[in-house]
Amino acid sequence: MSASETIRRPSRHRTFDSDRLLTAACVGLPLLGLILFFAYPMLIVFLRSITVDEGYGMGNYVQVLGSSGFWRATRHSLAMGGATTLLSVFLGFIIAQGLYRCAFPGKWLIRAVIVLPLLAPSLVQALGLIFLLGRNGVISRALGVEIEIYGFWGLLIANTLYALPQAVMIIGAALVLLDARTYEAADVMGASPWRQFRDLTLPSARFGILNAGFVCFIITITDFGNAAVIGGDYSVLATEIYSQVVGQRNFNMGAVVGIMLLLPTVIAYAIERQAMKRQQAGQTTGQVAYRPVFAPLRDLGMAGLSLLICAAIVAVIGIVVYASFVTLWPYNMSLSFKHYDITLAGGYSSLWMTILISLGAAVGGTIAVFLLGLGLRRLPQALAQPVQILAAMPAAVPGMVLGLAYILTFNSTATPLYLLYGSAALIGIVNFYHYHTQGFLTVMTGFRQLPPALEEAAGSLGAGLGRTARDVVAPFIAPMLVSVFFFLFMRSMVTLSAVVFLTTPQLSVAAVTIMRLDDAGLTSQAAAFSTCVMAVVCGAVLAMKMILALMQRRRG
């Protein structure tokens, strides 16, 4: 006994030091990435926003703030952001609650369907809504009334469809880990299910709900694609940027709006942090996973609601898949494969490169957010706070602004980073940082549920940070890491707005091919190509899930 003590003491000293080093590395490397690939490009955008004819000044800001169009777009953006957030978080909570807190068969179906909007190229969602709900859409024709989808309501539906899976991912990270024993105790004490929901589930899911709300809000106010296709005349801030930069080649003014978009984000994040202060973190040790028992009223209701939402998603995406086989939608409904014969815009060649890039972004991104989350837990609050804000910010930057910022930054021979320009790596990197917020907040929500006592116990048993991370934290957080991985993979496969500015004649990605086909007027071919992309993504996700399951079985 005493012998082992003497051996252990120096080794413990060493682990302490190497722990500090590891913590520094855990935070430092992802932070370096954030600075190089997010903060630095945004600094360059900021410099452009204050560039006036001769040197620097606030003239551009004065001009933007003085235009009525800007304030109208701001009002619209805030209203749309608020409405989408409420609706997506509400529906997202229903689905997450159904998935993790209720008992009914067929959850795999809901799980599979809910991610579809993530792997659908934006063209698919836009076309789907118009084919379905447009003035000449299936429903309008069936009812004999022309639905006016363009504008606020159409945009709300489109934005909600896109935000919903992200809300489910983050809220799910909060609900999946609730301790069953608390609920058993509540049962014993005779608390009604409603009371349990109100006093146990809601408070402990609050972190996830707030994070989900934050994400839904900022991805809505920065989204351009939906606003352009279905927003009609409902101008939002992202359309203002597009009009300045793409319509009028007025870079600096576009940069001003891009920088202004960061403001509501920082404010929203500050409010959220403030609201979180009152909640204590984490759970007690020795959690018992919650296994819901079948409660007919609750479960049938939840299953029904979830299936209804899923049916809407399937309808929107399914109709585009169907239309890609239709000879001439909506005038000649006979089926044909002719739209799959794609020769223009590089044909199918971009598909495989896109898979490689997406895998890179997903693997690298998952590791980076995991390390960051792990390291942040061990940093003092004063240090962790600014890093957290930085890590939660990227979603506040519209893809177009990020893409152009990357050109400004990495197409300059002033730094060795120039080597990245025009490479597949840079596309992978921009994809990851574009979606950094969602990945980071999902992992943070998961970490929030991790009992600090568990880590402390591991620490006091002599496990260093490395070992604790591998043997204690990683298995606990694994479900979130898996969802972050698939989220990053799916978005990288189809995201367009940033990537369109970074492709080269030799290097294109699937989303750009879809845009080029649609630009060429070949919308049906674009839908066909989108269907192929979705099929490939589904196949890849299934294959990866099978590998994961096999690995787990072998380990178990």
Binding site: I130, Y242, V246, L328, Y331, V363, N411, P505
Partner: protein, 335 residues
């Protein structure tokens, strides 16, 4: 660090694949249509086998954003077939070097820059895309001019691109203003404004919405109209009386090019007989004197003498007025 090692390794692999063995490479940025690009590049590549021609295709607006973002270290050697109203932006002109391509001297002065920075042997036209099925269903009469669209029966049935977001939008607004004169032109735009269902951010969107029957009239591009008709949509292409708006597709040499020989050879090719022969297959608007756009124009339903229907456009004035017109438009019609 793992992340970057992995992604960098990945990209090096990609770079390795991308790096060609040919010493002579040419990067061309263009906004021409996919189908014609494929035909032209095939021919140009055969004519200059020692140069590998790499083409990046983006829409007019996105290409402009890309060129400006890259201005610090331009990647393109040649800008090819890009809207002249965008080309005449001082920020872009600054990046160009004067070069008179062989054969460009035959072009009338209005179709090439006085300083020799750009020349435009081809162009494209605006047009109304009218969905005949919806027109019939709604009991509307076929519009043949802007004035016809004032009819209250067209309320909520017409789409046009926003000139502040889309070059096509400015093409139409400018054509109305220059052909009718500023005062009458603005009055015309005001008269159709109540019937406009939306001002879109994309130039082809109005036609694509009209062809699937969402709206009756899409004020858009002749190219999209022709392509839609070919695909079989119940669509009629209408060139409004009183002056059709059009845009020149100009080319120029980037001053920063590291392959000036190749770039000049390519620009020369775009004025070659072979190229002009191909334009006759694809373009409805050719500015080379004595060359009629027979095949393509006939397909488009154009009169033999196209100049009779085109608006009399002063491109220099259009470029100068651009900012003022867009601002005034936003003031009057911004939604």
């Amino acid at each position: 660090m793992k992340t970057w090692i992995q992604t960098t390794a990945l990209s090096l692999a990609a770079l390795g694949l991308a790096a060609p063995a040919l010493a002579d490479e040419l990067t061309v940025y263009t906004a021409l249509e996919e189908e014609e690009i494929a035909a032209y590049v095939e021919a140009a590549q055969a004519a200059m086998p020692d140069t590998e021609i790499n083409v990046l295709r983006l829409s007019t607006g996105k290409l402009g954003a890309r060129l400006l973002a890259e201005a610090g270290n331009p990647q393109a050697d040649v800008i090819w077939g890009w809207a002249v109203s965008a080309m005449m932006d001082p920020q872009i002109l600054e990046m160009l070097e004067p070069y008179e391509a062989k054969g460009a001297d035959v072009l009338p002065e209005t179709f090439r820059d006085a300083d020799g920075k750009w020349f435009a042997p081809i162009g494209y036209m605006g047009a109304f895309c009218v969905n005949t099925a919806r027109l019939e269903e709604k009991g509307l009469t076929m519009p043949t001019s802007w004035a016809d669209l004032e009819d209250p029966a067209f309320e909520g049935e017409v789409l046009m691109p926003d000139p502040n977001s889309s070059g096509t939008g400015y093409l139409h607004v400018n054509a109305v203003l220059q052909s009718m004169g500023a005062e009458a032109g603005w009055a015309q735009l005001e008269a159709v404004d109540p019937n406009m269902a939306q001002y879109t951010s994309s130039g082809s969107k109005p036609c694509k919405s009209a062809r699937v029957g969402e709206y009756t009239v899409g004020i858009s591009l002749a190219f999209t109209a022709m392509q839609s008709i070919e695909e079989g949509y119940p669509l009629a292409m209408v060139f409004p009386e009183g002056g059709v708006g059009y845009e020149l597709e100009s080319s120029g040499l980037m001053a920063s090019t590291d392959n000036p020989e190749g770039a000049k050879a390519f620009l020369d090719w775009t004025m070659s007989d072979e190229a002009i022969g191909l334009y006759q297959q694809y373009k409805a608007l050719i500015t080379v004197p004595g060359v009629d756009a027979s095949e393509a124009a006939e397909k488009a339903g154009l009169p033999a003498d196209i100049s009779t229907i085109l608006a009399d456009i002063d491109f220099v004035k259009a470029a100068e007025d651009q900012t003022a017109v867009k601002d005034e438009w936003k003031e009057k019609f911004g939604r």
